[in-house]
């Protein structure tokens, strides 16, 4: 079966993001399903477990995938995408579940064509933050979001100074956000400073979003709004106003 894999943080903190991802994915392919009680991919364990615990946990998750006959997945979290495509095939040589991040999935030509995205509101400049997990993945996702954004009629896309391979980290990965938020206090600010020229800063990682959003509110550095990629896409699909 085809599974829309939500990720732990999105499920816990951003139900609307999950809803929006589902709308997009099902609009493009109705066969994708959302299941309950899906185990998290365990990426946090990479920073907080022993090797043995981690490998045991991954075996449990892999068993769950097999029991549920998962053949294909779309993830909405950058971390799940990186982790599932890097470490699972390393541990299980026969691992052959097709895994895509939502951005990759949307950027496929037939999907982009079907979505035919258009923005009709007032002048809008957008920028995009490359999440480390997408940039560092075995199959990096770097050009896909740019491809999607450049296909949208009516918006202006503007890169930050540090983009693609040179993009900054928001400072919240690797479990650091839970214990040392001070990291994102500094690093997210660097990103927000560079995003100033855009009205909208999009990110495709719920961890980056959490940090960027918090720091943006706290510092009131700019008039830029931080938004999750899927939320933005759904707003375009609905033709609803963007509150920026």
């Amino acid at each position: 079966m085809k599974l829309l894999y939500m990720g732990c943080l999105s499920r816990a903190n951003f139900p609307e993001m999950c809803e929006n991802a589902k709308r997009i994915v099902n609009f493009l392919d109705s066969e994708f399903e959302v299941l309950n009680k899906v185990p998290c991919c365990g990426s946090l364990l990479h920073n907080t477990s022993t090797s043995q615990d981690q490998s045991n946990y991954m075996s449990e998750v892999y068993e769950w995938f097999k029991t549920n006959n998962i053949s294909e997945m779309v993830t909405i979290c950058a971390g799940c995408y990186n982790y599932l495509t890097r470490y699972y095939p390393e541990q299980f040589s026969e691992f052959n579940i097709k895994i895509q991040h939502l951005i990759q999935f949307i950027s496929e030509p037939q999907n982009l064509e079907k979505m035919n995205l258009e923005y009709t509101g007032k002048k809008l400049t957008i920028t995009y933050h490359d999440a480390c997990h997408l940039r560092n993945a075995r199959k990096p996702i770097i050009e896909e979001p740019r491809h999607i954004l450049s296909s949208i009629k009516g918006i202006k896309y503007k890169e930050m100074d540090n983009n693609r391979e040179e993009s900054f980290c928001c400072g919240s990965g690797g479990g650091v956000y839970s214990s040392f938020k001070e990291n994102s206090d500094y690093n997210s600010r660097l990103i927000l400073d560079q995003a100033k020229r855009a009205k909208l800063l999009l990110t495709a990682c719920p961890f980056c979003y959490t940090a960027l959003q918090r720091v943006n509110e706290q510092y009131k550095r700019s008039r830029t709004t931080v938004m999750k990629f899927e939320d933005f896409i759904v707003k375009l699909m609905e033709g609803s106003e963007l509150e920026v």
């Binding site: 732990c8 943080l9 499920r11 816990a12 903190n13 009680k37 185990p39 998290c40 365990g42 946090l44 364990l45 990479h46 920073n47 907080t48 477990s49 022993t50 090797s51 615990d53 981690q54 946990y57 449990e60 998750v61 480390c132 560092n136 100074d161 540090n162 391979e165 040179e166 900054f168 980290c169 400072g171 919240s172 990965g173 690797g174 479990g175 650091v176 839970s178 214990s179 040392f180 001070e182 990291n183 206090d185 500094y186 690093n187 660097l190």
Partner: protein, 433 residues
């Protein structure tokens, strides 16, 4: 489980608070360091002196350099032997020290009854604990790199950036320190400070140096050459004006040929985007045959060149295939720190006495164990992989840091909030449920 993890966590939180306060060395260093990183991050793409940018240089030579480094790691015993033979042919005196303790003994023997050692910057000397050793033996160490001279002057003990170690001291403070220590009154200008040391210390060094200590940027196995990179000329003086030049260096600095050694050295220079004035290729003691073709050692330069090749953890890391094996490929360029997310946020809170950044933390782990690494800020690392991506020698530092975190978890040293996630994932299959 003990409360050790909590204690370490609180310790780091305390240090991090200092970054936002004012007038302390954490705050002063971090402020400076953030600016340095921003400058470094933007100039790496600019062409300032060469036809290519430093980034283009890295891209062009990364593969070649990494291959050279891997060649050493895969055949380390062969290259150590070859290096020693070539150096002996060059009339250098070569020692191989299996452990740091052996290096200590050899070093003290080589010093004899000398009471003062003039020294250039050396990561190895720190690694091996030479400074502590000399202190215990009442031997005076005189740093010669101006940054290190300042570090000594201020008796500064916190982690710092090896390439410009004293760069965060304010001019006014330097001037008043000079007045306090030397009684000299200087205008608060960089030129005056430099001139002061040129007038006083340079003369003292030239008159007084008997034994000098340096490291090496690289060593070529085929012809036993030591390559040293510098800007101030202190290394040139130290290695020429002395009676005995001692080179204390890890065996991982060896590369097959002198061309490889130059590439390794040039990569350090290019990645630091510093226009450095000198590269020395040292093939042995100074000598002359001008008196009836009779070869005599020690004309104007060093009379003796002594090499102490230190193994310590290195061969073992290869034999045991340890998780930090790729660290042997490190050329010490510090590019990883300039791009490090944790370094930018936390400056010298993130590092150890061996230096700032992940490599400083890894060194502390190698020498002092996992608790030291956690204390240095291991858990400030976000796993962003900037270090691995930028490293010109393919050291997989990000993966090494992850492995360290696993070891720390095993010892119950992970920060309490992370420990909670771990339990939740295990029990509920979701850390945030």
């Amino acid at each position: 489980m003990s409360d050790k993890n909590k204690e370490l966590y609180d310790h780091l939180k305390g240090l991090i608070e200092k970054i936002d306060e004012s007038d302390n060395y954490y705050n002063a260093f971090t402020d400076f360091w953030r600016i340095a990183c921003a400058a470094q991050n933007s100039t790496i793409n600019t062409k300032y002196k060469y036809d290519d940018s430093s980034k283009e240089f890295i891209e062009k030579y990364k593969k070649q350099l990494s291959d050279i480094r891997k060649e050493l790691v895969n055949n380390i015993e062969y290259y150590v032997e070859k290096t020693m033979k070539s150096m002996e042919k060059n009339k250098m005196k070569v020692h191989y020290a299996k452990t740091n303790e052996e290096a200590h003994t050899i070093f003290l023997e080589e010093l004899g009854d000398i009471e003062t050692v003039y020294k250039s910057k050396s990561v190895e000397a720190k690694d091996i604990g030479i400074l502590e050793l000399l202190k215990e033996n009442n031997i005076t160490v005189k740093e010669t790199d101006l940054g290190d001279v300042l570090i000594q002057l201020f008796d500064y003990k916190l982690p710092t950036y090896q390439v410009g170690p004293g760069i965060h001291f304010e001019i006014e403070k330097i001037v008043s320190k000079i007045k306090e220590v030397y009684g000299a009154e200087l205008p608060p200008k960089a030129e005056s400070i430099v001139q002061f040391f040129r007038d006083t210390y340079r003369k003292e060094l030239l008159n007084d140096v008997k034994v000098s200590l340096t490291s090496a940027n690289s060593i070529s196995a085929e012809d036993g050459c030591i390559v040293l990179l510098e800007n101030e000329g202190n290394i040139s003086l130290l290695t020429r004006a002395t009676e005995k030049h001692i080179v204390l260096v890890g065996i991982s600095k060896i590369v097959p040929s002198v061309f490889d050694a130059l590439l390794m050295t040039k990569m350090v220079e290019r990645t630091n985007q510093a226009d450095l004035a000198y590269i020395s290729f040292i093939y042995g003691p100074s000598a002359t045959s001008d008196i009836r073709a009779h070869s005599v050692q020690g004309m104007y330069g060093a009379k003796e060149v002594v090499i102490i090749l230190v193994d310590d953890w290195r061969t073992n890391a290869i034999k045991e295939d340890l998780f930090y094996k790729s660290f042997l490929q490190c050329i010490g360029c510090k590019t990883c720190s300039f791009y490090c997310t944790a370094s930018k946020a936390f400056g010298n809170v993130y590092g150890s006495k061996y230096g700032i950044g992940a490599i400083g933390i890894l060194r502390d782990y190698i020498h002092n164990g996992i608790e030291a690494a956690v204390r240095d800020g291991l858990y400030l690392c976000t796993g962003c992989e900037k270090c691995t991506n930028w490293c010109p020698a393919e050291v997989n530092l990000a993966e090494i840091m992850r492995s360290l975190k696993k070891i720390a978890t095993e010892k119950g040293l992970a920060p309490p909030p992370l420990e909670k996630y771990r339990q939740k994932i295990k029990q509920e299959k979701n850390p945030f449920s």
